[in-house]
Amino acid sequence: MSQTQMQTTSMAATAAAPTLEVRDLQTHFFTRAGVVKAVDGVSFTVGRGKVLGLVGESGSGKTVTGFSILGLVDAPGRIVGGDILFHGQNLAKLKEEEMRQLRGNRIAMIFQDPMMTLNPVLRVDTQMIETVLAHTKVSKEEARQRARDTLGMVGIPSPDERLKSYPHQFSGGMRQRVAIAIALLHRPELIVADEPTTALDVTIQAQILAEVQKLCAETGTAMIWITHDLSVVAGLADDIAVMYAGRVVERGAVSEVLDQPLHPYTHGLIGSVPSRNKRGEKLRQIPGMTPSLLSLPPGCAFRTRCPRAQEDCARDPALSELMPGRLARCFHPHLAAQGSAVRGAAAEGNPA
């Protein structure tokens, strides 16, 4: 009881400040072939109880951004610039031991492939109890109790028996629930979820999405949902940040960005998603391929594939507020689509 009270008071104090603010994050990998700027200027904020959808193609730096927040970037990579402010505390400057105390405790992460995230030779109870004991001084019995309750919370039937099982005795969806339960053990203030439903089938995906949304709303946990699936983001997230070649190219409220994308890349992404309203039409695709991070063109990284690119795109566009609450990194955004008639068309799912 007293713990909940403490939580409410501390949260009231920080209600105005965002849970996480990432400012111009740069994570580079120093390989033999050269410096790979996997994340090169990423900024966003996530508020309490909010879900941020971090969207982009494979290799756009979404996952590395997630690992950077948790301080899990391995050599040859390291954070070379920017701030990761978690309740005002800069995680990028934290010592490893201080970071360890935050990980799994106040900041948790859920991974993509549930078949790979649980250690195959350790029982589920071992893997859950060790997480409890890593951050709180309780008896093993209390830790087990907590593990059992959390398993029940994420919808695993007969958690007492399931605790004694090994990961291979669970299905993929169940394993992801266990991973989510592990992430929730300490009621974290921030969860980084790296494509947690990509490896699951659609029904399980829907169930897990609904539950995660409910949990976030109930506990006030902020969430970064990394995905390449725009339909998941549309249903789940409050805000969206679109990444391309290690940078955020567009940011804003999810409904506005999806209705009326400003950046040509976002535009292309939305155009390439099949939808009921576009039945029979040919899906538009973005020409070309994601450029190698080793040899990015100077200026806007998207200009080689961009239909609106002009000569000034050889300069670097900054992420700037083009409309109230809407940021994009582009010299030639789709601002023409501002007219009310076009807005109507966009609402019907035909943004053009």
């Binding site: 799994g104 948790a108 992460m109 790979m116 649980l118 030779v121 029982r123 997480t131 090994y166």
Partner: protein, 323 residues
């Protein structure tokens, strides 16, 4: 589990039977022991009497059947040379070889696991490069030469350890063991280390490869994302996974160490089974050779079974049940 064990035992019996045929025919094919055993100036009568006494006048299949019949009663024949039951002869020497082999395995794990772990966790450090280079030496230096060098340095030059023999023994469970006395341990140290050298290298390389592979797995990163201490990640999450291949290989190596410690036993004059079998082959003491090979086959079968059981204990995905 019971069904599994029963099936394994049945399989083992078949393997033993097949091996007994191969061994018996194989040994029969090499030379005539009579030429070696009977003095050259014995006359025809004596020769024939000896041949009859040894049962060598019967056709091969009859010799085999009588061997098989006796073997089932626990009698693997009498040594031509020592005129003692072959089985008893071998079992007398067995403790010496066993303690040598287990000593070697113990040293191999004691040195190999930590070094392999270190080399796997810090693959680019100078220390781990030295360890890997050293392991190449362990693989490639011939055992007999290293044995002689050990004797030169530690027994002759420094005088720290005795050069040969087994030292005093203590009788436990009716068998004579030397590792229970201090002097016995001193005698055991050098031959065990010599025999362990190859296995240390093997364990180092296995462990290092396992660590490097496991460190890249998602579950290790997830374990770190849970906020576990680096020690817990290494010694629980990584270590338990790399033990699986190490146990398998070390188990099988144990069999070959016991069976083929011949060179080390010869260099250090260690009175074990290896020395016995070499002597027996030299004088074509058939019953001893056959009995020795049969015991080795039995031992390999047993070790394989134990390795499988250990494997299933370590890896929950492998369960020895027949559904």
């Amino acid at each position: 589990m019971a069904v599994y064990l029963l099936r394994r035992l049945l399989q083992s019996a078949l393997v033993m039977l097949a091996m007994s045929v191969i061994v018996f025919i194989g040994v029969y094919a090499i030379g005539d022991p009579v030429e070696i055993l009977i003095s050259p100036d014995a006359d025809q009568m004596e020769r024939e009497r000896a041949i009859k006494a040894l049962g060598l006048d019967l056709p091969l299949w009859m010799q085999y059947l009588s061997f098989l019949g006796n073997a089932l009663r626990g009698d693997l024949g009498r040594s031509f040379v020592f005129n003692e039951p072959a089985l008893q002869l071998i079992l007398q020497r067995m403790p010496a070889t066993l303690e040598l082999a287990f000593g070697a395995m113990f040293i191999a794990l004691l040195i190999g696991l930590p070094l392999g772990l270190y080399a796997g966790l810090k693959p680019n450090s100078t220390g781990s490069k030295l360890v890997m280079a050293g392991s190449i030496l362990g693989f490639s230096l011939p055992t007999f030469w290293v044995g002689l060098m050990l004797i030169m340095v530690f027994a002759v030059q420094l005088g720290w350890l005795p050069s040969t023999g087994r030292g005093p023994t203590v009788e436990v469970l009716g068998l004579r063991w030397s590792f229970l006395t201090w002097d016995g341990l001193r005698h055991l140290a050098m031959p065990a280390l010599n025999l362990a050298l190859f296995k240390i290298s093997l364990v180092i390389r296995l462990t290092r490869a396992g660590v490097r592979e496991t460190m890249l797995m998602d579950y290790v990163k997830f374990a770190r994302a849970k906020g576990l201490s680096p020690a817990r990640v290494t010694y629980v999450h990584v270590f338990k996974n790399i033990l699986i291949p190490v146990v398998t290989v070390v188990g099988l190596e144990l069999g070959s160490t016991i069976a083929f410690s011949v060179v080390t036993e010869s260099v250090f004059a260690w009175p074990g089974m290896g020395k016995l079998i070499i002597d027996s082959i030299n004088v074509l003491d058939r019953p001893v050779i056959v009995a020795y090979l049969m015991i080795i086959v039995l031992m390999f079968i047993t070790i394989n079974l134990l390795v499988d059981l250990a494997y299933s204990a370590l890896d929950p995905r492998v369960r020895l049940e027949n559904k």
